[in-house]
Amino acid sequence: MLNNSTLIPLMVVLPLIMAILVNFLHQKDKSVKFISIVSLIVFVIVPVVTLYGVHLFSGHLRTGSFPEISKMLIPEVYMGIVYSYGTLQKILMLVLTIITGFSVLTVINKKMISGVYVAMIFISLASTSAIMLADDIFNFFVFTEFLVVAQAALVIAVQETKSFKAAFKYMIFGTISGASILLGIALLLGSYGLLNITDLSNAIAAGGQLNSIGLSAVALLTLGWLYESGLFPFHIIKSNMYENAKPEISALLQVQSKFVLVAMAIILFRVFSGYALLKSVMLGFAIFTVVIGSVMALQQIELRKLLSYVAVSQAGLVAVGLGLGTSFGIAAGIFHAVNDVLSMAILFFVASFVYDKFKTTNLDQLREGLHIAPLVGFVMLLATLAISGVPPFNSYQSEWRLIQAATQAGLPELGILVILLSVATFVAIIKAFYMIFMRPGPEVEVNTEVRGTMTKAIIVILIIACLGIGLFPNVVYDPIYNFVLSLGV
Amino acid sequence: MFDYILLFAVALSALMAIIQENLYKSIIILTFESFSLAAIFHFLLATDVAAVQAILGAALLPGLFIVALYKTTKGRDE
């Protein structure tokens, strides 16, 4: 049992408290700004300072389970809710809090600040942190439901008819997926009597082959995973959400979806570790998502819709890495998730700048942006290279590892799929870059009072981070690989 | 015996609530269904959950439904 680390719940509790506080101070702009900036600095510091370990709520220790009386299959169980914090959680939490910080800075830099809006961002940050940290499967479910409501609220705040419809569809399917996750948890509770993920994985490993109740639980939990991460049958709903939110918030939504994908896939692998069909099913849905997402991205003429389909197909690529099943494949998938959220965040912030400055994101109506905003155009070109896997940027390192993992697992055709996806992504986004920044034509109307200094600073910092991870990949990759090896899936 | 009648009442009223054309009647049948569900929870030895289900499912949610229904059929065009 690892040491009892005490700062772990702060990563969930502090954003919730700050959300309530900011919501309470709704109309007072200066206080909202001050509290947001202070709390963002604290949110970035807490994951750095926290020690690795587990946190046992209310001090309930691991204890004997009396197998003769309780009919549990393992001799020792955790007696309460447990949160565990390892190297993988530290890397993911740092990336999540930094990108949340950038989004909130962009939001509070505008003229009209809404306390409720910032509160919803903090609630979604708290929910994603709890989903990554929780070792208790019901606590994980509660925070997925929080996340659905918070993300729907962020899209509703745009107050256009399209966004209302997108949020409504998201919540309708969210009800189905939440019910199926809870039904899977109920079946697991009924058969094994446990809610802790570590104990469940030991009990299922000790109990032999999964009977029909266990198989139903796998199917229901996989359906919930498909919805939460925006893979094949639910890809249109997720991409609707990305396209209808404000672009700086879409940068945040796609980070949360990819990290929830990674966290929930790790939970599924830990609980159902001996079950090989699960990985094949996950791989199948992921391949569908990659193909459909990239084909639809190539057809779009509106910038935000294009970027949302690219985000969905890249999430499918992360799931391909996870679905391979070998430790190398899972580590490559998680590394690609970290790289990809950084490049997609740059592209979404560029879309936010274009939306504010040129008042439209329809590619037909934009021309010759390069002499109005040269720095943004240059960074968008670098981000296109970054997301398509061109060296020396970060996606090159992760896609190379994905192709190697696919070949080692005996499926070299998936390597060809990865290369085709990166070509399709490059073509789609470079077309958008040409149409916004370089295409000659009549002048387009410009909102001259938008300076965009905050957005420019953010995208320069992010592209330097992409370059840094691309040149020194092992700083991020080795801890992830060691963590996946220690899971033993 | 009474508990089996309640189980049958829950299933039947759920089916009737969604077949019913008039939405006001549908919400009243839904209230009856939530209340019978609360009684079933008591017979399944979960009285605290029955209290919460009775309050939320039979008082709060139908109230919200009726407010939403009022605002969507009286045709306030503003």
């Binding site: 948890i185 | 508990d3 939530s34 569900l37 079933i40 030895l45 979960a46 949610l61 439904f65 045709g75």
Partner: protein, 134 residues
């Protein structure tokens, strides 16, 4: 398995299937929301039926078991072995309480969205609202 427990699992199944059918197939937007409510009710009934013990009693610590208990150590539970093996299993009740509240808040947000969509489209039919989307 006690026949009452089997009956309640079957009723929960009927509730979930009815709710799913209403959620996906009905045209009126408020009927879809009623279907979402029914799905939540069905899942709660499954959770509570798991914890049922036939012929048991409600798991409140009643007066004559409570006489010498101190709340901060676990030793009294071993003496109350009779209590523990005759009361119903109360862990799923905590899950259901949380789920009822989550369901109520999600439903209220969906109802608010339905009212706003009615003001834009002046109809409650999902067919007409989502007509132009791909």
């Amino acid at each position: 398995m006690d026949p009452f427990q089997v009956g309640s699992f079957l009723t929960a199944g009927i509730l979930v299937v009815t709710g799913l059918w209403a959620l996906l197939m009905m045209d009126n937007i408020l009927k879809k929301i009623i279907g979402a409510n029914l799905i939540g009710d069905g899942v709660n009934l499954v959770l509570i039926s798991i914890g049922y013990r036939p012929g048991g009693f409600i798991p409140e610590v009643m007066h004559h078991f409570h006489a010498t208990a101190t709340p901060s150590d676990y030793s009294y539970l071993l003496e109350f072995g009779e209590f523990a093996s005759n009361a119903s299993y109360s862990l799923p009740f905590a899950l259901v309480l949380t789920n009822i509240v989550i369901g109520a808040s999600t439903l209220s947000v969906m109802l608010a969205l339905a009212v706003v969509l009615y003001h834009k489209y002046h109809t409650l039919s999902v067919q007409k609202m989502f007509e132009g989307d791909e």
